[in-house]
């Protein structure tokens, strides 16, 4: 579907939302090969906004809650679904599943199952592109839970010190499993936090895809000019539990209600107006997305299962 920028941002968020709903549906049917699956419903604006600001040569690293980054970056849904179904046609040959979904051909350096584990990788990728005089920028998505991991400090410090082309994007969905952001740190502002590293820090409404895109564009351009990293705190909300097993009883009902009313899809339509994204547009996107997802699920269903005989492949390159 050829869309202009504004429409494509909406489409991207819708595609993420419906894909994850479909993933949950397939999980309930017992079609997923792994029990590990974390959806980002409610957080789509961060992935869509940031990825829309990236260029083809750029890299990204992603988290255990990574479907959104993958889809927004242009990852293929059929092979993604096949991966989740444990099929040999999956991006990771059926061994990575949801938590490790990766397509290196689009500069996606992996969804990582260790909270904070990929900040070093993102910084290292930026170190090499910098040494190699490439103009690629690396975007590192992580949750606010990772902010208090040691390597987060090490990475931001090193990237700031060497002015590496890496963007640190905190998707602050306010809960690290059950622990509220306010209970994990006394410094809630990323603008303030960045000051300690001598780099720009921005706190942005992570439910406003246009606002996210703006700060991402500025950060990425800055990095591409060789001026170093930016710390972006995108304040968002996880509409569902941490995982399927989590009924999220630790969150006040009124808070959930309030935050769920701040749906990035609704917010965007209200912001750009019905003349930009009409009901007919939405209807057409819904139809197209459904067709794509039906085709992806069919591809996954029709693909052969990953075979035990392949278990001993790829241990070494």
């Amino acid at each position: 579907m050829e869309l202009d920028l504004t429409k494509s941002l909406y489409h991207s968020m819708l595609l993420i939302r419906r894909s994850e709903e479909r993933i949950l549906e397939e999980m309930m049917k017992g079609n997923l090969a792994s029990t590990m699956c974390h959806v980002s419903i409610g957080q789509e604006a961060v992935a869509a906004g940031v990825c829309s600001a990236m260029q083809p040569q750029d890299y990204l690293t992603s988290t255990h809650r990574g479907h959104g980054h993958f889809i927004a970056r242009g990852g293929g849904l059929s092979r993604m679904m096949a991966e989740l179904f444990g099929k040999e046609t999956g991006y990771c040959k059926g061994r990575g599943g949801s938590m490790h979904i990766t397509d290196v051909s689009i500069g996606h350096l992996g969804a990582n199952g260790i909270v904070g584990g990929h900040l070093g990788i993102a910084t290292g990728a930026a170190l090499w592109t910098s040494l190699n005089k490439s103009d690629a920028v690396t975007v590192c998505f992580f949750g606010e839970g990772a902010v208090n991991e040691g390597i987060t400090h090490e990475s931001i410090n090193m990237a700031a010190l060497w002015k590496l082309p890496v963007i640190f994007v905190v998707e602050n969905n306010h809960y690290a499993m059950s622990l509220a952001w306010e209970r994990s740190t006394p410094q809630l502002s990323f603008t303030e936090r960045a000051r300690a590293y001598g780099i720009p820090g921005v706190d942005v409404d992570g439910q406003d895809v246009l606002a996210v895109r703006e700060v991402a564009l500025e950060a990425i351009e800055r990095a591409r000019r060789g001026e170093g990293p930016t710390l972006i705190g995108a304040h968002t909300y996880r509409f569902l539990g941490h995982s399927r097993a989590d009924p999220s009883k630790y969150r006040p009902a009124e808070e959930e209600e309030r935050e769920r009313a701040r749906d990035p899809l609704t917010i965007m339509r209200a912001k750009v107006g019905a003349e930009m994204i009409s009901d007919q547009d939405v209807e057409a996107y819904e139809q197209q997305v459904k067709e794509v997802l039906d085709a992806a699920v069919k591809f996954a269903e029709d693909s052969p299962l990953a075979q035990p005989s392949t278990l001993f492949e790829d241990i070494y390159a």
Binding site: Y59, G90, Y91, C92, K93, G94, R95, G96, H100, T102, D103, V104, L109, G110, N112, G113, I114, G117, H118, L119, G120, I121, A122, T123, G124, A125, A126, L127, W128, T129, L131, N132, A136, T138, G150, I151, E154, S155, N157, M158, L161, E313, D314, I315, Y316, A317
Partner: protein, 330 residues
Amino acid sequence: MSVMMYRDALRRALYEEMKADPRVFVLGEDVGAYGGAYAVTKGLAAEFGTERVRDTPMSEAMIVGAAVGAAMVGGRPVAEIMYVDFITLAMDQIVNQAAKIHYMFGGQIKVPCVIRTQQGTGRGAGAQHSQSLESWFIHTPGLKVVAPATPADAYGLLRASIQDDNPVIFLEHKGLYAVKDEVPDEPYVTPIGVADVKREGSDVTLITYSRMLHVALDAAKQLAEQNISVEVIDLRSLLPLDMDTVLRSVAKTRRAVVLHEAVLTGGLGGELSARINEALFSELLAPVQRVTAPDVPLPANVTLEKYLVPNAEQVKKAIEKTLESKQKVH
């Protein structure tokens, strides 16, 4: 042939790889103008610049993480961790990231990086600066682990490690840096995963690696005077293990002793003993013996430390024990 020190052989390997391949770069604490805590990278920054021989902050997790990330997008980094004891700070990057990325992502990404570090006793450096931690790494599929004992192997294995497309944990020994021996003048690589018979013998196979090779050769020399013929195998690579060479030798001698500086429990000696037993139980004339450090932290005391490091006397006793054994063979 030229006679050179272990540290100089390592530096020669780094130099030649950096000359040959612009993707190779070095990073770590004090590796630049200072030349490395054990002087392995001395002079490299002057030759290649401080971008390619890069001092880092004291951030072990990030040093390894940077190497992994750079390797994933086209670099061939050689990271130095000053002491293996400090690698604890980087274990996620090694165990969960470097070792898993190629496999977990279905072979899409390679991680060609070398993590150089040094371990072992000899300087009374104490509980946090003297350990031998190879077992932690060999327990992790996806890594390669090497531990050269001689200047020639240090050179050849480092070149092979830098050229390898996988993450390699390169374990040097602080007690070996000043050891001198002959190194061929022509460039070469020593293949990873191939052990070396450093001394041929017929009565017993003594399997070891890293600095303990020199203890093994000393014991073998002393026993030769008593007409006991010891075959000494230097594993050189600890993962993958060259069991063909080990089993071929033990099948011949029918006796085996494993020697390492790491502590006993969970050590490579147990793994080798098990594999030898599984393959050759009915051929063995005696139980496989282990000579290792006891399960004790190391003291910051040169005199006390010696009581915890295996020596030639202990090796001789273990060998004599295998020779005394009267196990009946079917």
